[in-house]
Symmetry: C2
Subunit: 410 residues, 2 copies
């Protein structure tokens, strides 16, 4: 099944809005065993939208459009597509009722005319319920058994609609073309992961691996024909065994989630002491809902004064070894246990750049201390890249170091 | 001048990689007075790349391709485009020398063959120097005065190449089509900004406004024909006067930058005390290079214990008013001045959700206290959206509240 995507919206072309919808839909299709074969972005004009849908419909089985379903003058997708398909729009009282109920629950009033516009549906189309907004999606049959699917642009409206209503309908059109499994590996370089994967997959010539590298983390995806689903599971199990603790548990796309669930399960409280990352580790932990059940707090000791006053790092250590040293980061971690009664802790200090590097201590040098009361570990790193990259890698590496310690302490 | 973009790379279609290059190029062109008229993504196959370039070249003056210039088997853009244009590839000794020098400076050795592949250049093309990688960009004339520009995919290679070498060449092809000015407004809702802009622009019928809303912030862009550049500046000055302190200074795209430069200029030190944002304010401040000259540190007091121990929030206040209250946030800010000797401070507490809301204190309720020693302000907010949105708005609003106080204290 050939699936093409047409994103409408001038805001995507002039650098206002990053096209996260393409990323989301491509990823969902891939995970479901389908492939997004092509994508294009066109401005908000009826002519551009109609031409793009016409061209893509000539070469695809399913064309998904995004955006332009609202009630304003630049919302032209519904009209342009209906005209292109030669289908009249028809007032749909059920859609009108659903939108009215949605707005009533939110105490919002909208001009009757704009309500009516959004209740106009191509005669042969099935409306797709919008849980988080007014404009319904539209599933529109086209000639030759093809389909045009129109989705609203806001991600919080599009995402549940795609997963709950579009994917199941695609599955009815055609079975998945590939079976796929994926897992994330943390703390090994991509080349080391690839070496293990290539070696272990040698007897599995029918399984294709792919890698997606993120800072200090690699996602491995394996694919095969749907008939080989069982073999795929076997290959995954084999790889996960070889890669051992470096593999994040199912459902975790980053180490913070694994850390959080182990802390919660063992009723341990974690605290952080950050210098170069400036609060990013704490921010990453508190991105997770429910962090208040296992994260007590964090100290961002950016200046040496704060390191001395809040973490009791001795002035002598700061003078003799410097703020970026194994000695300093060790003292920072110790203070989390001794003074702040943490059960688990992470401390980091480093040179994120662009300034501040020296021959001895270049930009990218980072010390990370993590541990539980009975078990501490200090590591030294030289991270590549710019300020943002060094900081991001420090965050992920610190979280993963604590994750491995929690695993070992089991 | 019609500019179309062709992004190559299966990773963009299967949800591995977010297409930040499109966002970057669209924004750069827009700022320079040009318009990206269309974009498409195709997989890494020679046939798909050639077909896309052929189709786009039929309707555009300039086609920019991204990706597929490296030395591996899935780097097919250079070959496919040269074949499409009917131009032979020719070994380019200067390009070879530049790549060799680049690699030598990095102590990297690369197989001679892959070096040679990257030194093959379409006969009539001008290579574009790559400061941050090996594959050069290519500026390739096509028939009818058209041009195909091939750029490498990694953003750190593409971005300087586009700004330093592509934009100036585009300016030689055709003058900018629009003149544009932009500024950011912080702390006013989009509707209030639009009201002022529409009112004040009434006498400027030849100037078109556009808005880009981000959490707690709005970017305003004004455009007109290039001949009206002076009128555009006049309109901007008028709007900035009407919007007053809500406008961020030139060169600042977010309030943290304005806060940082005022603190640096006045030699003041800021500290933070965060609950619901969990370190995100400190992270945002330390995203800025040089933050160590004005940010002393931050406290992430997520639990009530930490609020009591580190910020001396009286137990009575926590019991009587709760952790999310004006009383608590005031006590948090006071501690930054009294106990941590800050010159300026920000304190926040709130309910980010998804759990933890009550009828009295719903998800989205946030208290923000900011100030200088002589001047404090506490505000109460009910932010919409999910956990991430509530936290992001809290960060921007706290930074902007302090920014306004710093302006008033001048």
């Amino acid at each position: 099944m050939n699936i093409h995507l047409v994103c409408t919206g001038t805001e995507l072309l002039i650098g206002h809005t990053l096209n996260t919808n393409q990323h989301f839909i491509g990823g969902c299709l891939d995970a479901a065993g389908y492939r997004l074969a092509a994508e294009r972005c066109v401005p908000d004009t009826g002519a551009a939208i109609a031409a793009a849908v016409r061209e893509e419909l000539a070469r695809a089985d399913v064309v998904i459009t995004i955006g332009g379903l609202g009630p304003t003058t630049d919302d032209l997708t519904r009209d342009s597509v209906a005209r292109e398909l030669g289908v009249p729009l028809k007032y749909h009282p059920d859609v009108h009722a659903v939108i009215t109920a949605y707005l009533a629950g939110r105490n919002v009033t909208v001009p009757a005319e704009s309500l009516r516009i959004q209740a106009m549906v191509p005669e042969n189309a099935t409306p797709l319920l919008n849980r988080n907004g007014t404009a319904p999606g539209l599933w529109c049959p086209a000639s030759g058994g093809k389909v045009v699917v129109m989705l609203p642009g806001p991600p919080r409206e599009l995402q549940p609609m795609f997963q709950e209503q579009v994917l199941p309908r695609l599955r009815e059109l055609a079975p998945p073309e590939v079976a796929r499994v994926a897992f994330s590996v943390c703390g090994l370089p991509e080349s080391a992961v690839a070496e293990v994967v290539e070696r272990e997959l040698a007897p599995f010539a029918d399984i294709e691996p792919a890698y997606c590298a993120r800072p200090a983390q690699v996602e491995v995806r394996l694919s095969a024909t749907p008939a080989l689903k069982a073999r795929l599971e076997l290959a995954r199990a084999r790889l996960m065994e070889c890669l051992g603790d470096a593999v994040l548990p199912a459902g975790c796309s980053e180490p913070a989630q694994a850390v959080g669930s182990m802390l919660l399960e063992r009723r341990l409280w974690v605290a952080t002491a950050e210098s170069c990352t400036g609060g990013w580790i704490a921010k990453t932990l508190t991105d997770l809902p429910g962090a208040s059940a296992w994260f007590s707090g964090g100290l961002v000791t950016y200046s040496n004064d704060w390191k001395e006053c809040l973490l009791d790092v001795p002035e002598a250590i700061l003078n003799d070894y410097g703020a970026v040293s194994a000695e300093t980061v060790t003292a920072m971690l110790e203070a989390l246990f001794r003074r702040y009664e943490a059960d688990a802790g992470m401390a980091v200090t480093g040179i994120a750049g662009p300034a501040g590097g020296t021959a001895d201590k270049p930009v990218g040098l980072v010390y990370i201390a993590t541990g539980l009361r009975a078990q501490r570990q200090v590591s030294r790193h030289l991270f590549p890249g710019n300020r943002d990259s060094v900081r991001q890698r420090t965050v992920t590496t610190a979280l993963n170091q604590l994750r491995l310690q929690l695993l070992q302490a089991r």
